[in-house]
Symmetry: C4
Subunit: 182 residues, 4 copies
Amino acid sequence: MECSTSYGIFLCLAASSNITTSGKDKSISTPEDYILVNMDGSLVLPSNLKPSAETLIHTSIYQRIPNCQAVFHVHMIPNNLISELYADQGKVTFMNHEIIKAFYIWKEGASITIPIVENYSSISKLAEEISKVIKPEVPGVLIRNHGIYAWGDSDFTAKRHLEAFEFLFEYQINMYFLKKFK
Amino acid sequence: MECSTSYGIFLCLAASSNITTSGKDKSISTPEDYILVNMDGSLVLPSNLKPSAETLIHTSIYQRIPNCQAVFHVHMIPNNLISELYADQGKVTFMNHEIIKAFYIWKEGASITIPIVENYSSISKLAEEISKVIKPEVPGVLIRNHGIYAWGDSDFTAKRHLEAFEFLFEYQINMYFLKKFK
Amino acid sequence: MECSTSYGIFLCLAASSNITTSGKDKSISTPEDYILVNMDGSLVLPSNLKPSAETLIHTSIYQRIPNCQAVFHVHMIPNNLISELYADQGKVTFMNHEIIKAFYIWKEGASITIPIVENYSSISKLAEEISKVIKPEVPGVLIRNHGIYAWGDSDFTAKRHLEAFEFLFEYQINMYFLKKFK
Amino acid sequence: MECSTSYGIFLCLAASSNITTSGKDKSISTPEDYILVNMDGSLVLPSNLKPSAETLIHTSIYQRIPNCQAVFHVHMIPNNLISELYADQGKVTFMNHEIIKAFYIWKEGASITIPIVENYSSISKLAEEISKVIKPEVPGVLIRNHGIYAWGDSDFTAKRHLEAFEFLFEYQINMYFLKKFK
């Protein structure tokens, strides 16, 4: 896997084999920010760098989802708010939104349900729980007060999915209030 | 018609005859993102590209509105929220705003009413409904939880109309709450 | 007076004598966007361009405020919301904010009160009302659902005043809700 | 100490000895915006420039916190709102957030409590109060309706702490409402 990062974004591409190192300023991306890992998260070559603590989550998504070629992980305030508001249900459903077509769901009255998992401090436990709830037809998962993982069969598709989810989250936070006072 | 797009924006100019192709990253605009279409949405020349699914909405606006030279289509959270909040009335009215002058409406106590249509999954049905409710004096229409179409007699005018509508939507969402607690 | 504009911003400097013309895309600023005017808003030289409709408001501020060297006028959602929420009182007061020092008011428990005028459609009436309520010690005035005029003894000072007002407006809109639910 | 500023940001680095001068446009940073100061805030060399009024706050943080190498001070709307909302308690606590790891706190169910001090108009009084409440394990302090000071053992660390605090503040303001209507 190859991973590149910019500030607040963590991206892994299946096509190559690098994982960004941990504890660096992600607003600056240089070759030294990359590292080669195997699908179990171990280093391909000896290195003084250590892969991101969440490498295992990326690899478990690649293993669970057929044709996954890129995984994004971002921490945004809207995705954190939604993950907390709907944590008790373990999921949140969006329907009657044009933007659902961004997930290649085109039927009338379409809906999409994204799962939410607790933010276990053990990464292997977290990776395992994520692996249990994700499904090929929904390209994302929320971790409570932690962020979203979104993926696709290309980096462009993964980015489109991520943007569509963030749009739905921000809409929902606003509508949550507005509907109360309608 | 000629159309150029940037991410989240879909623009068609009457002066030429291109429509952006569907399913491409709209943050990168190259000549291959353009395609020639007739006013019925059919291709002028054979091509492997396919025009945007919503080409027919653009063409129906050009046919209905005299002197229309540019049509923008954007998906923004404020326009989606407003389209949902006022969907039952099929329209939303703004008054006592200086920004209404952006629509060349200068009289004291001026108001502007933008129509809202349901988001039919059939584009031809959607184009037909839009054609029924739009009027030359109001350069825009909202589609429920989908986005806005805004137009003008030049690209600059269309952009000014779009920005004025978005300003009114964002103001209204905020004032919706504020007035409740006044 | 010399005026330069960028989109949504209208600036006049006393040091020279230009006013931006009306009806142009203010995101592009070229010499043709400038026009020479006298303090009564009339043209210094014959021109096909016409000065902004609100030139008289700028000139009346220069006449009323000693040492005024730059006047900004912007339309922002927070200033529009505040102007509507406090229109009945004809003013809004802010106190206990560090940012009040941006107005060179340094005393303990300082406050600043900005006047709000109705948005008369007659510019000469509007200029007259503004002239009545503005004072040298408060470098700004709100027009209901229209925008703010802010000024200073240099362009930098005028910009600092504008930014401080906008900070206070945005804070106040948020606190308006938060205090209700405390 | 060396300090550089950009608009709305005030930064001091222990490695050298400059403090930005007061009353300048902080969006433009040139060598003339720097000034050499001793740890008591006095000038190292005679100068026509005067150090920022809040230099003493920076120096008191350097004296209180071991290994502090950079101190940021910013005025943001979310940090102002949080400082007012929780002023009565003199502190605000955040827990169950992944972003708390940005403070190198990795344990399950981790929390962080940032102190809030009143905005005394006397800078020496303010510096003294800050000195009383800050602790090495929490790299920040809020001043009521004034802003945040955040620091770290490098400029990158200080920036990461600042961003993590701002994330928590913005989240909390939103959740404050959302929880009321759950």
